[in-house]
């Protein structure tokens, strides 16, 4: 199993509140690892640390053997992409959105990026604001994937979607994982979804990793 992320004693405090309390964890560099736990458990905070959008107060995180604070943050964020809980379209067309991530990409490459996430390349000229919620979130996924990351961080990416587009989003991501080298860290609090998408589960409660219960994972392996 490849290295991926290794966390040692990772602690985050917000004032008097400890959001993450000395977390030790390994997230392998393959398959889908779910970070599961109730709201406020610290899942999203942990995910943001992995993309260095926040830094821990204590402890260390390495990615592929290199400490995050020794890496160029821009290079890290190109290797480790992130899709947020709420879709974040930028002003302009779908093509404009993709061009923010990949300014040199031509229309063929952009069309292909949309196809990878099961969106019609005809949407390239549409104003991003006119897409449906599910389409928007997949456009954000395409925007991240066009930078060709090795690892994808997903922060409850389907929580704002209805059941059908949520399932479509899951299938799209799993197809990408099964197709190639993409590693996914999926933050979620929906048991059923975690069982469908995850290869292994890390369970967070009150800012600490807890001994995970036995998960009956559809994708075969348990943690």
């Amino acid at each position: 199993m490849t290295a991926g992320f290794v966390l040692r004693g990772v602690t985050v405090r917000r004032g008097d509140h400890t959001v993450l309390d000395a977390v030790d964890a390994e997230i392998p560099g393959q398959g889908v690892t779910a970070l599961w736990g109730p709201s406020g458990a610290g899942k999203s905070t942990l995910l943001r640390l992995l993309d260095r959008l926040d830094v821990p107060d204590d402890g260390s995180i390495t990615y592929e053997g290199t400490a995050l604070d020794e890496m160029d943050p821009h290079e890290l964020r190109r290797r480790v992409g992130m899709v947020f809980q709420r879709a974040t379209p930028f002003a302009g067309s779908v093509a404009d959105n993709l061009a923010v991530a990949a300014p040199d990409a031509d229309r063929d490459a952009m069309g292909e990026a949309l196809r990878r996430v099961s969106l019609d390349p005809e949407l390239l000229d549409r104003d991003a604001d006119t897409l449906s919620g599910g389409e928007l979130q997949r456009m954000c996924l395409a925007r991240t994937l066009i930078t060709e990351p090795e690892t994808l961080l997903l922060d409850e990416p389907t929580s704002a979607l209805d059941a059908t587009p949520a399932r479509e989003f899951e299938r799209t991501v799993l197809a990408l994982v099964d197709d190639g080298d993409l590693t996914v860290v999926w933050v979620g609090h929906d048991d059923a979804q975690v069982r469908r998408v995850a290869d292994r589960v890390l369970e967070l409660r009150d800012g600490a990793l807890v001994e995970s219960r036995e998960w009956d994972l559809t994708r075969g392996r348990t943690s």
Partner: protein, 257 residues
Amino acid sequence: MTISWTGLAVSLVLVVVAAGISLAWRLGLERSIVWAAARALVQLLIVGGVLALLLLPGVSLWWSWLWVAAMLGYAAYTAKQRAPAVPGLLPVAGAAFLAAGAVCLVVLFGLGVFPLTSRTLVPMAGLIVGNAMTSTVLAGRRLSEEFADKRAEIEARLALGQSGRDAARPYLRGVLRSALSPQIETTKATGLVFLPGAMTGLILAGVPPLQAVLVQAVVMFLVLAAAATTTSVVALGLVRRLFTPDDQLLALSRERT
């Protein structure tokens, strides 16, 4: 035309009118009104006294420059006090005032619009710094509000590997526009809606109206240039301070404006 001390005393009736209105409506602002009027009067008298000293024959121009420097420092401090939620505003405001002062004073005195004397330097610098201070507070607040509102979008850009400066650029333009617009609107309405202060003062002091208009026009252009320079220096300077060296967007609190 001159005004006597008696005239000044009589004009205090107008302050009493304002305080009376506050009393009638039970606004509780009487003390504030009287205090503000008294404070303004004392400050103006002090300024007038010091200016009179500076204008005495044989007094070095350096004393006027010293006054300008003190105004700059105080204005930067005041800007910081008025927008406490904007991180790192004090040094940025100082730099913005210096830039605005340099641009405006070089044009005014370097190109010979006015002769460089204490009589021209102190009031002009006061106008520049005063307006630059308003622009700084406005731009600083707008910038930190915009970045707090657009945090998700900016972080999405950072997560795509953009630098903080690149991620901020699309939002900066809007901030600059909205911070400069009030000044442009004021400039447009000048003469139609209201007669601006410098011109009114000059006319009351007996200066021919055309001369007063010319001075006022220069003052307006000065204020416009000061606002534009300040706003862009504040925006560029603050953007650097809103991100950490590793391009994380700092936590920003929205403040009431």
